[in-house]
């Protein structure tokens, strides 16, 4: 692909004459004519005026709503993070968090190509820069999961080999092996064409509605556990606040929260998450379950057998 344009909005949006004019805003008559006049194609929605269709204006109701507890009932206290502050039009937190741990595919041209998305005024630059190649954006390109899974499955064998060789390479080249899990943060995108979406179901004991998580947007267990924390913290109701406190990434992974993260592998066995290298995990996981620690006791012996003496995770 040629013709990469770097830089921000101004350079690229030269064509859109009407949008940059400062023509005065057309006002709206009330109730019966809720639509702004569209004949005047050079009119612009003036930033400073809030005269709107149906007499709606942003001023109404805002103050009153501040006191609202939220239709969910119980309060949900949450520490604000960078993702809570105004930024415009980013893709979901999952893709942002995962992209920070891996650069996009090697070519720098893809990064500057991504900057072309900043043909819009918003700060898409930061988003595009963080996201890199389009593979990091959730749901883009718009291909149904069904079709992606089919394609991925057909290409499965070669991809597995690439994964395994990457894992081996990184293990060998990294002498400072700390916790097993951190070693598994492999940048699997070196090859460029790996995973698409890999959505697996996640159920948590005590919560009736299961969720789905895209494993391919993660590169290591920590980010996955963080995503699960976010996911189950918000979807649970008041009575699960206890569980909310319990779930933090490290607690999920080492089981000290009273819950353990487990997965069902291709053979139908339930295993503890975190023992095998990430690549192996990805290739064999079918679904996840956040299990009460009390029920997970049975997993340990099986793990010992199948891993033949590997380090055993405490429950």
């Amino acid at each position: 692909m040629q013709g990469v344009v770097g830089g921000g909005a101004g350079a690229v949006s030269g064509g859109g004459g009407s949008s940059t004019s400062d023509a005065s805003m057309s006002t709206v008559s009330k109730e019966d004519n809720p639509v702004l006049s569209s004949e005047d194609s050079s009119s612009c929605l003036d930033e400073s005026e809030l005269e709107l269709g149906l007499g709606l204006s942003l001023g109404v109701g805002v103050g009153a709503c501040k006191a609202q507890q939220g239709p969910r009932g119980g309060q949900y206290a949450r520490i604000l993070t960078a993702k809570d502050f105004p930024y415009v039009g980013s893709s979901t937190s999952a893709s942002v968090s995962s992209s920070s741990s891996s650069s996009s595919s090697s070519s720098s041209s893809s990064l500057s190509r991504a900057n072309v998305t900043a043909g819009t005024k918003r700060s898409a630059d930061s988003v595009a820069a963080a996201n890199g190649a389009s593979s990091q954006v959730v749901g883009w390109p718009p291909i149904r999961a069904y079709r992606m899974n089919s394609l991925v499955n057909q290409a499965k064998l070669p991809a597995t080999e690439v994964f395994n060789s990457l894992i081996v390479k990184s293990r060998n080249s990294n002498p400072a092996v700390g916790k097993g899990t951190s070693n598994a943060c492999v940048n699997a995108n070196e090859k460029g064409q790996l995973r698409s979406s890999l959505f697996v179901k996640v159920n948590m004991d005590g919560i009736p509605i299961g969720r789905k998580v895209d494993l391919s947007s993660h590169r290591c267990y920590e980010t996955l556990a963080q995503k699960l924390e976010d996911m189950f913290a918000t979807s649970s109701g008041e009575e699960h606040d206890m569980m909310v406190d319990a779930i933090t990434p490290s607690k999920l992974l080492d089981g000290s929260s009273g819950f353990v993260l487990t997965y069902e592998d291709k053979e139908g066995d339930w295993m503890l998450v975190g023992d095998v290298p990430w690549g192996m995990f990805i290739n064999s996981v079918r679904r996840l379950r956040i299990m009460r620690a009390s029920e997970a006791n049975g997993l340990a012996p099986r793990l010992e057998e199948s891993n033949g003496g590997q380090r055993n995770k405490p429950i």
């Binding site: 013709g3 344009v5 690229v12 949006s13 064509g15 004459g17 009407s18 949008s19 709206v28 809720p34 639509v35 569209s38 929605l45 709107l52 269709g53 149906l54 709606l56 204006s57 942003l58 109404v60 109701g61 805002v62 009153a64 709503c65 939220g70 239709p71 969910r72 206290a77 105004p86 415009v88 039009g89 980013s90 979901t92 937190s93 893809s110 991504a114 072309v116 043909g119 819009t120 005024k121 898409a124 595009a128 389009s134 593979s135 954006v137 959730v138 749901g139 390109p141 291909i143 149904r144 999961a145 057909q154 460029g192 064409q193 995973r195 509605i209 969720r211 918000t234 979807s235 649970s236």
Partner: protein, 584 residues
């Protein structure tokens, strides 16, 4: 008028109405006078509910007491691309319960993007004695156990179509639950199932159903079993193969080829997973009769594709991977003069560089060679305004045009300009355009074109486009027939949305994700528009915990006469009149 209406007995009017099937026409009939309304509602047999939350099951049942066929759609379209979190909704259970009581003679259920459980399936199988058609398109929530219940209990089943649903594969034995004396199967689509179905049961089933015309197998059915199936059902009109691979053996090949030749009615082929090119010639004898060919899972290269498609002179619909390349599309343009629909899918959508020589040129060739082309879905990596203008001028009869340039924000590769004028040409020339998906670098100008010209447009999909609220305003104020609008990652905020609030009641739904809409605007809209459900979908916790100016994550607005729904999960927030009053 009153006298005229009374001069026909009800039975005559009912008979006349029975020739009118189209929903819009029947709706019109029902508004003529009270007695026509009454007759029409008693005789309406088929109901389509485009959004299952727009109305409640009870309201439908009250108005139409004797429905035999129902179609329901649940989740928004972007759920196909995993933009709608799991657990959002779309549960069919309340509908099935209500209909089980009210419509004992229900024959057909068609669902799209809904959640249906095994219990629901069992209830269906036991409640409707004359049940004939079950179509589950992109549905989820059920397993092969539910299918077993359908197979076992629905004695009059004609159609079981699981189109791309997500089914939990517990076992392939469910197929055995069709009783031995069950012979009425007409259409079976199990292509989405992962596990092996019991093959002997399948063979026997196919063999004893003389009216079987559609059979879409799943990948697990091996190629060497296909010939036997075909010989048992030479009357098939539509076939989906399983995995199309096997060791190349002359006896298997000739057996297969002979079996295909015996299928004189075969018009539609699909499947073709894991294709071994050596087996493709087995279908050559029937190519000239094919009107539909779905090769979108076939990872075969252009020369093989060209040889195959080149023989399909009567092809009307072609779905294929971009392995076909520009050269292959040139061949299609030369051979398939009757082509109405083309879909080209990407073989490597996540790779940073193009992996095959498929560009805008292929689509231009098709637009030149195929004068009946109406519907296009095209994934590619480069596009130019010139190409779009050529396509528009060649094919003013286009009704569906969906272009996906894989990298967001890609400009015209020749001029580095936005693709505004190219898409503008499409909407200007294709006056009957009903569906449009945009991609590439686009400013507010393209929306001005759309608002000006796309007067018949019903569905618009927008991603990574536009510069300001003016873009959204152009669309909402200009597109008179707009029913569905879905937007992601565009800098559209509150102003256009609030300014066009009334428009939203004339549409089925609006989806906006990763845009700049604030919670304040959503609350306002929800309070002021009682016939809209304004759903804020945000997995970061209650939107009130963030500054008012912080954009919400996802917004789904739809018109409804059923009020707020009762099955919202924890990450969906709405404001209605009641809660607004509670606040103050």
């Amino acid at each position: 008028m009153q006298r005229m209406a009374c001069s026909f007995p009800d039975e005559v009017l009912e008979h006349v109405f029975s020739f009118v099937q189209c929903d819009n026409d029947r709706n019109a009939i029902s508004t003529v006078c009270k007695s026509w309304y009454k007759i029409e509602r008693w005789s309406r047999r088929r109901v389509f509910v485009g959004n299952c939350y727009a109305i409640s099951p009870d309201m439908v049942i009250r108005r139409f007491p004797d429905v035999r066929s129902i179609e329901l759609k649940g989740k928004p379209h972007f759920a196909d691309f995993n933009l709608v979190p799991d657990g959002w909704g779309g549960y069919v259970a309340p509908w099935i319960s209500a209909m089980a009581a009210a419509y004992p003679w229900l024959e057909e259920i068609r669902l799209k993007r809904m959640v249906i459980t095994d219990e629901n399936l069992e209830l269906i199988s036991k409640s409707f004695k004359n049940f004939k058609v079950l179509v589950l398109s992109s549905c989820e929530g059920f397993s092969t156990d539910g299918l077993a219940a359908i197979a076992a209990n629905c004695r009059n089943l004609r159609e079981l179509d699981l189109r791309e649903s997500e089914v939990e594969d517990l076992s392939g034995h469910w197929l055995k639950h069709f009783p031995d004396d069950y012979t009425s199967l007409v259409s079976l689509n199990i292509a989405c199932l992962g596990c092996e179905v019991s093959f002997s049961a399948l063979e026997r089933l196919v063999g004893r159903c003389p009216n079987l015309r559609t059979l879409r197998l799943n990948r697990a059915v091996p190629l060497d079993k296909l010939a036997n199936l075909l010989r048992r059902a030479p009357q098939l009109v539509e076939l989906g193969t399983g995995a199309y691979s096997s060791e190349l053996r002359p006896d298997v090949f000739s057996n297969l080829s002979g079996a295909f030749s015996g299928c004189k009615e075969l018009k539609s082929l699909s499947g073709f997973w894991d294709v071994v090119p050596g087996y493709l010639p087995a279908v050559y004898p029937i190519c000239c009769r094919l009107t539909t060919l779905n090769l979108s899972y076939a990872t075969i290269q252009s020369p093989d594709l060209i040889k195959l498609v080149g023989q399909c002179q009567n092809l009307q619909r072609l779905w294929v991977l971009d392995y076909i390349e520009d050269a292959g599309l040139d061949a299609v343009a030369a051979s398939c003069k009757d082509l109405r629909e083309l879909r080209v899918f990407p073989s490597d959508p996540y790779g940073p560089e193009p992996n095959v020589p498929l560009t805008e040129q292929g689509l231009v060739s098709i637009s030149e060679g195929c004068s009946k082309l109406q519907s296009v879905l095209y994934f590619c990596r480069q596009m130019s305004n010139a190409a779009l203008m050529t396509i528009a001028r060649n094919r003013p009869n286009m009704t569906r045009f969906r272009l996906c340039i894989i990298e967001p924000g890609t400009p015209d590769y020749l001029t580095l300009q936005p693709l505004d004028v190219g898409f503008g040409a499409i909407v200007e020339h294709c006056k009957d355009l009903q569906r449009l998906s945009l991609s590439g670098l686009l400013t507010d100008l393209v929306f001005e074109y759309i608002g000006t010209y796309a007067k018949k447009l019903e569905m618009l999909s927008v991603a990574f486009a536009g510069e300001s609220d003016l873009g959204l305003h152009h669309v909402l104020s200009g597109c008179e027939k707009l029913r569905k609008l879905e937007i992601r990652d565009c800098p559209f905020g509150d102003k256009a949305l609030l300014a066009n609030a009334a428009k939203l009641e004339t549409m089925r739904s609006l989806w906006m994700s990763s845009c700049s809409v604030t919670f304040g605007a959503c609350k306002l809209l929800g309070q002021k528009m009682p016939r809209l459900n304004v759903e804020v979908i945000d997995e970061r916790g209650t939107p009130d915990s963030r500054p008012e100016s912080c954009p919400i994550d996802k917004l789904y607005i739809y018109r409804t006469v059923a009020g707020s729904r009762f099955d919202m999960p924890g990450f969906v927030w709405t404001i209605d009149e009641d809660s607004a009053m509670r606040l103050s």
